[in-house]
């Protein structure tokens, strides 16, 4: 047994919980993309199933996040690091929430998404998935290798730019198409904005990760 693991039992325990939390986040990003694909294929039942699974993981992620916060509050981490981590976890929590809300809107509204948008939207979802994955890697690096945080954060930014570009083009397509009613145009805009919001939040959290990594490397 690694003697350090005995000496730093509390730290290792927090690290292990954070790892689990990040795996949940990655699973959610995967399910999010898969759920949309099912929807595009017209399988609403499969979409509902994916949405349910995502909700279940989000519950576990919430519970785990709460456990980590309690550990940080009660165990003896240094106040400086503890406050930073609590602040970070609160921000990180917004990403899974945004995934859940995005699917929630589809579930209630059951919008009709025109076929000509599917390809670009699928591409947008691939980049969204990659952005969340890069965020998970950046966060993982914050807890394992501060030096490599920057490269993952840059990857999040890159994916966010891709999503932004696709979102802009999709919005143009939606509002330039005179066959769509105004209500439909605004409904589609809402859905696209919700997907775009996921990567915006991911970029925001990634920036926080970079700030913390820089601060604690000083």
């Amino acid at each position: 047994m690694n003697p350090l693991s005995l000496l730093f039992k509390k730290q290792y325990a927090v690290e292990e919980k954070v790892q689990r939390l990040l795996r949940f986040l990655e699973d959610m990003a995967h399910l999010y993309q898969a759920a949309f694909e099912s929807y595009f294929e017209g399988s609403f039942e499969e979409f509902s199933q994916r949405n349910h699974e995502l909700g279940e993981i989000e519950k576990q992620l919430d519970e785990l996040g709460h456990q980590i916060q309690m550990t940080l509050l009660h165990e003896s981490l240094m106040p400086n690091s503890r406050d930073d981590l609590l602040w970070f976890l609160t921000k990180l929590d917004k990403v899974p929430s945004s995934l859940k809300h995005s699917l929630g809107d589809i579930l209630f509204e059951k919008p009709e998404i025109p076929d000509e948008l599917h390809s670009s939207m699928k591409n947008m979802l691939v980049h969204t998935h990659l952005a969340v994955q890069a965020l998970a890697h950046a966060t993982d690096s914050l807890f394992s290798d501060l030096r490599s945080v920057r490269q993952h954060v840059e990857e999040v930014s890159r994916q966010e730019s891709e999503v932004d570009n696709i979102e802009y083009k999709l919005l143009q397509m939606v509002f330039e198409n005179k066959n769509y009613e105004l209500a439909k145009q605004y409904q589609l805009k809402g859905i696209l904005k919700q997907i775009g919001r996921v990567t915006n939040l991911a970029e925001d959290v990634a920036d926080t990760v970079l700030i913390l990594a820089t601060k604690h490397s000083k």
Partner: protein, 493 residues
């Protein structure tokens, strides 16, 4: 320790120890505790234990330097010197002025020297004064180097935030333990150094392995007083220091404590001194230095590395002010206190000593390298203070500071009688078999000066020979000197 008055007299030193613990523990754990990186209880326990260990194991070196500056030879004098230093520290802290126990006790000792007309060894004084300047500068340099190294290591090593937090906390605790050890080793001389010449305890020997000398017992008591100061009063000071230096990152805090501890250790370690001497490298004088100034120096060093924007000039000014004000106040308080203790409370603040110059003494002077060509004129003269005998010799022949100390050592009268009763009191484990046998051969002899017994023993056995040769044999010679000092006390008539 038969006289209960001794306890009262020791209170002066214990008070000084308490105030040192209350104030200076903050230099070791202030940043960590004040910014809640380490719990106060954890810090206090570690600090208490390591201060005592440092004092008992490594406290001798700095005490001997203080002893050279002025050997306070009566308990009343030691009490007042320690009390004056303690009061100075207390008052200056109360008025928010920069404070250093090291500087206070130096002022007190010089005050006692002036009051008792005792010789002040100028070379020791200059050595001490120079370290006051060197200590913060060295601390700043070490901190700058350490900070640069530590920063580059943290950047290169693959480590995460939580583990970095754990490592930093452990590093702070270890640095604190080292700091507390160094504080005990370096600053115990401030607390108990003035009591060393009049140490009221007997050496304790348990079997042939474990022994604790009277000086170590004294230091243990002083260490306990410092530990009590840490537990009872240092929390408030730690919180203040912690919030004052809150801009320090955990890494910078660790560097500050390490640099402070290294400096205190460098100025206290006899082993290091011996090691450097063996390599023919210049040695570092063993002198009590100011813990507060070491830590401020370290913070300044870190500030310089970070671009110098955070340089705290008012703190540098405080250091310089402390060099001047603290010893002067302590000196004055000590002189006034000694006057009252001697004339109002009728206490002995200085032992009545006679310094006699005889042909044998002059011969000893010659062996010590003093030009004795015209000293015969002083033969038969008796003096009643160390300063007086040095002045008399200096009127005839110029003396170096070291020679001044030799004049005092050889001319001090000390009637010794070697008798069976006292020989039976000697702890056989303290002396080697050969040393004891040689000593027993001197039964019935009487001497007027301590060095006469030393010479007699040295002539009969190499085991009593001082090696000389400077620092290289310092530790071996110190052991023989401590045995001789024990014999001089034992056979005194």
């Amino acid at each position: 320790m038969n006289d209960p008055a001794i306890i009262i007299f020791l209170i002066g030193g214990l008070f000084l120890g308490w105030s040192l613990g209350a104030n200076d523990a903050a230099n070791v754990f202030g940043t960590a505790v004040g910014s809640r990186m380490v719990r106060f209880t954890t810090a206090a326990i570690i600090c208490g234990i390591f201060v005592i260990l440092g004092a008992v194991i490594s406290g001798t070196g700095t005490s001997l330097t203080l002893g050279k500056l002025g050997a306070v030879d009566a308990l009343g004098g030691s009490f007042m010197a320690a009390l004056a230093a303690g009061l100075t520290v207390y008052w200056m802290t109360k008025f928010g002025l920069p404070v250093s126990t090291s500087q206070a006790i130096i002022g007190s000792i010089i005050g006692w020297n002036l009051f008792s007309d005792s010789y002040t060894d100028i070379s020791s004084l200059l050595k001490i004064l120079s370290t006051w300047l060197v200590c913060p500068l060295l601390s700043a340099l070490i901190a700058a180097i350490l900070f640069t190294l530590a920063k580059s290591i943290v950047r290169k090593v693959s480590i995460g935030l939580i583990r970095l937090d754990g490592y930093t906390r452990l590093a702070l605790i270890l640095a604190g333990a080292f700091g507390a050890y160094s504080l005990g080793a370096n600053n115990i001389a401030n607390v108990m150094g003035v009591f060393v010449p009049v140490a009221p305890f007997k050496d304790i020997q348990i079997g042939s392995i474990f022994s604790i000398s009277s000086i170590q017992q004294l230091f243990l008591l002083g260490g306990l007083a410092i530990a009590v100061g840490v537990f009872t009063y240092s929390k408030r000071v730690m919180m203040t220091v912690g919030s004052e230096l809150i801009t320090l990152t955990p890494l910078a805090a660790w560097v500050a404590v390490m640099a402070h501890s290294i400096v205190l250790f460098l100025f206290a370690s006899e082993r290091l001194e011996q090691f450097l001497a063996n390599l023919s490298l210049p040695t570092i004088p063993l002198v009590p230095v100011s813990s507060s100034q070491a830590v401020v120096g370290a913070v300044i060093g870190i500030g310089v590395v970070q671009g110098g924007r955070e340089l705290q000039w008012h703190r540098i000014y405080s250091i310089v002010k402390g060099w001047v004000i603290t010893p002067i106040i302590s000196l004055l308080v000590c002189i006034v206190g000694l006057y009252f203790l001697q004339n109002v409370f009728q206490q002995t603040v200085k032992r009545e000593s006679q310094y006699q110059i005889s042909s044998g003494v002059i011969e000893q002077f010659r062996k010590a390298g003093i030009n004795t060509d015209e000293l015969d004129a002083l033969s038969g003269s008796v003096f009643f203070s160390s300063a007086e005998v040095v002045r008399a010799v200096e009127e005839i022949v110029p003396l170096s500071s070291q020679q001044g100390l030799k004049v005092i050592e050889y001319s001090l009268r000390n009637s010794l009688g070697i008798n069976a009763e006292k020989l039976s009191l000697i702890d056989e484990n303290f002396l080697s078999q050969q040393q004891l046998e040689v000593l027993k051969k001197l039964e019935g002899e009487k001497y007027n000066f301590s060095w006469q017994l030393g010479n007699a023993l040295s002539q009969k056995s190499k085991e009593w020979n001082l090696q000389g040769g400077g620092l290289k044999n310092k530790l071996k010679d110190r052991e023989i000197k401590s045995k001789l000092a024990y014999l001089y006390r034992l056979f005194k008539e």
